[in-house]
Amino acid sequence: MNLLYSEIEEDLRASVRAVLTDHCPPSAVLARLESDSPCDMDLWRILVELGVTGLHVPEDRGGQGASLRETAVVMEELGRFVAPVPFLGSTVLATTALLACDSDLVGSLASGTTTGALAVPLTAAPGSPFPATVSASADGLLTGRVTSVVDARAASLLVVPVAGPALYAVRADAPGVTVTEVVSLDMTRRIADVSLASTPGVVIASGDQATAAVEAALRAGAGLLASEQVGIAETCLEQTVRHVKDRHQFGRAIGSFQAIKHRLADLWLELVCARATARHAADALTRQADDADVAVALAQSECADLAVHAAEEAVQLHGGIGMTWEHPAHLSLKRAKVNQLALGTPGEHRMTLGHMVHLLMDIPSRR
């Protein structure tokens, strides 16, 4: 078990952070909020150049041959900047699903020439039943609807779970595909409803392999989302510390008031503990450890609520300015709140966790 960041990981972080500092300042994210193009594809292309889309894909399948640990570090940085790029949908969810199949398509996602999305609702949790809202006709045409698919509009390749179970690859521009964006609470990572009507697709897995592929994607997604949540919390804490040092009221920096100091000390401590769980999840996923499921559920349990808490404290301790549209605090708040629902709520993960560590809920009946 290695819960540290390696030197290579720190170098990777520095590269990603340099790109984001230059190309993804809060002003740029704010300016894009209500635009019709949800993702910043210019920024995405620069990140693709850096190679971040193939980190956890083996070299012989077109990737960098690193691991989910490195991908988790990228998630932390993207969380810090609330970056509007399809990393979760394409690099984490779709890529992990394809990796678990014998599909060659993974290479184009790893290289960034294609952007993908996994057609499941963003709220799907690891361990939930195989989604089966799309069905295939006898001649292999797909019909059905999947709601709340993350990063769907940016995707040219849809990885679609189909009743059977099976997993299909569908081109986003194929006949019968409709991707309808909905109004998202997190405008920096939007969701869309995907409809298929007699749409042609290619089977890439079926039976247990299809089920396992979706499960692997959801598990990796939930585990790595914990790292994003750590990144969000970290930036919220840093911004708030900076603000309370600068902001003077009653002749003092408000950060010298003890109640504020104690709240921020508590938040820092929560962050310290949550970070250990997020690293643990990324490490356990990488090692394919026996208790990777426990590690993922634990990390989500701790990190999801942490990020919301940190973002809420950031808004509160920025005072009125934190309530304004022009200040970036709400970007973190909305991302953190949506992440709390994404890939399993903390409550769902704790339910799973209790089950896995034999703290059963099997309750004798009462009134």
Binding site: H248, G251, G320, K337, L341, T345
Partner: protein, 392 residues
């Protein structure tokens, strides 16, 4: 002293002379003001009859029954609740005659120019400058969190007239003409997407000395009257069990068994209990007021309400699951009044964040409870020197 019978006579006379069914709304309101039935506890000639305040309920009820128009009090809340009592207490005879009638009828909307970007919790640190120039004052500065600024004709304004004095001493209170040159109002958008409030930029705005309220340098004392009247509203009206946000969430729970988990159930019932406890606290507070023995409990109601609203709305988004990922509408709009519960879960969640900031942050309220209710000592002060030397 006027008694209830006399009051009813006056109402009847007003209604006889101005049939609500056929009289123009504004004409009726003016006549009501002139009859002393606007706020009966105000002096005769200023919309009142110098009568006990509680008789106002009699007037309102009778006029309401007769179908008379009201003055849309939510729209002109700042004028009625803050400007009017301050003008009545500190205004000159000319000021009272000029301002109170159109204020009450709603012909002239008022707003409040107090808070500044650098003076929020520490309002007395405000830096908007007013410099005397002949019969005028020349005012420059920036105000923020101003509701109704874009519809207002007048503003109550705090400005610093002497930066060499300690912060509370160099402030003067003015009435500012919002149509004067140099007044610029910009909508201030919030994290909900809408713009309830405004920023107001004042650039060399000329205010005649005749529009000063109270003495030069006495502005903080005058402002305390205004702010005390702001807090009177706290406690508010009685709400039924499951009124407000908790009712919305409870209904969702009842209607959507598919959203339930044991953990959410435990949290929901706990929130329900807290909401009901807070409701009963409000009931008890009103019973204390009615018994003429107001307790200090009022200081806590806003603090508790803010926390509860934030906890319930945060829970609601989690409970909604997939629907919680969505928002109703991000379109920028400028609502006339705020509706905490009318929109979707995402809106409620975001709007509730403001509850612990607006009208006194929760941190300031805790200080107030600790010092004024529990009698704990204040912090050592580092802001007693001249305003101009304060760190900021």
């Amino acid at each position: 002293m006027t008694h209830s019978g006399h009051i009813r006579d006056r109402v009847r006379e007003l209604l006889a002379a101005h049939d609500p069914g056929s009289t123009d709304r504004l004409e009726f309101l003016r006549a009501r003001f002139d009859a002393g039935l606007a706020w009966v506890h105000y002096p005769v000639g200023l919309g009142g009859l110098a009568a006990p305040r509680e008789l106002q309920q009699v007037v309102d009820a009778e006029l309401d029954e007769a179908g008379a128009p009201d003055n849309d009090p939510l729209r002109i809340g700042i004028g009625l609740g803050m400007a009017a009592p301050t003008i009545l207490t500190y205004g000159t005879e000319e000021q009272k005659s000029r301002f109170l009638r159109p204020l009450w009828t709603g012909e002239e909307v008022w707003c409040q120019l107090f808070s500044e970007p650098g003076a929020g919790s520490d309002l007395a640190a405000l830096g908007t400058r007013a410099v005397r120039d002949g019969d005028d004052w020349v005012v420059t500065g920036q105000k923020v969190w101003t509701s109704s600024a874009h519809t207002a004709r007048w503003a109550i304004l705090l400005a610093r007239t002497d930066p060499d004095l300690p912060k509370h001493q160099g402030i003067t209170y003015f009435v500012c003409d919002m149509t004067a040159p140099g007044v610029e109002v910009r909508p201030l958008r919030q994290i909900t997407g809408e713009a309830e409030f405004n920023e107001v930029f004042l650039t060399d705005v000329r205010i005649p000395d005749a529009h000063r309220l109270g003495a030069v340098g006495e502005g903080w004392k005058v402002a305390r009257t205004t702010l005390m009247n702001e807090r009177v509203a706290i406690g508010g009206a009685a709400i039924p069990r499951e009124g407000g946000m908790i009712g919305i969430v409870a209904d969702t729970w009842r209607q959507h068994p598919e959203l339930r988990t044991p953990e959410l159930h435990a949290r929901l019932v706990k929130l329900w209990a807290r909401a009901e406890a807070l409701r009963l606290t409000g009931v008890r507070l009103r019973q204390q007021l009615a018994a003429g023995a107001p307790g200090p409990e009022g200081s806590g109601m806003k603090l508790a309400f803010a926390r509860l609203a934030q906890d319930i709305s945060g829970f609601e988004v989690e409970l909604m699951g997939e629907a919680g990922l969505r928002y109703d509408d991000w379109t920028l709009c400028r609502p006339d009044q705020v509706d905490f519960t009318g929109r979707g879960p995402g809106y409620r969640y975001l709007r509730a964040k403001g509850n612990s900031i607006e009208g006194g942050t929760s941190e300031i309220l805790r200080n107030i409870i600790a010092e004024r209710v529990l009698g704990l000592p204040s912090e050592p002060r580092s802001d007693t020197g001249p305003w101009k030397d304060l760190p900021r």
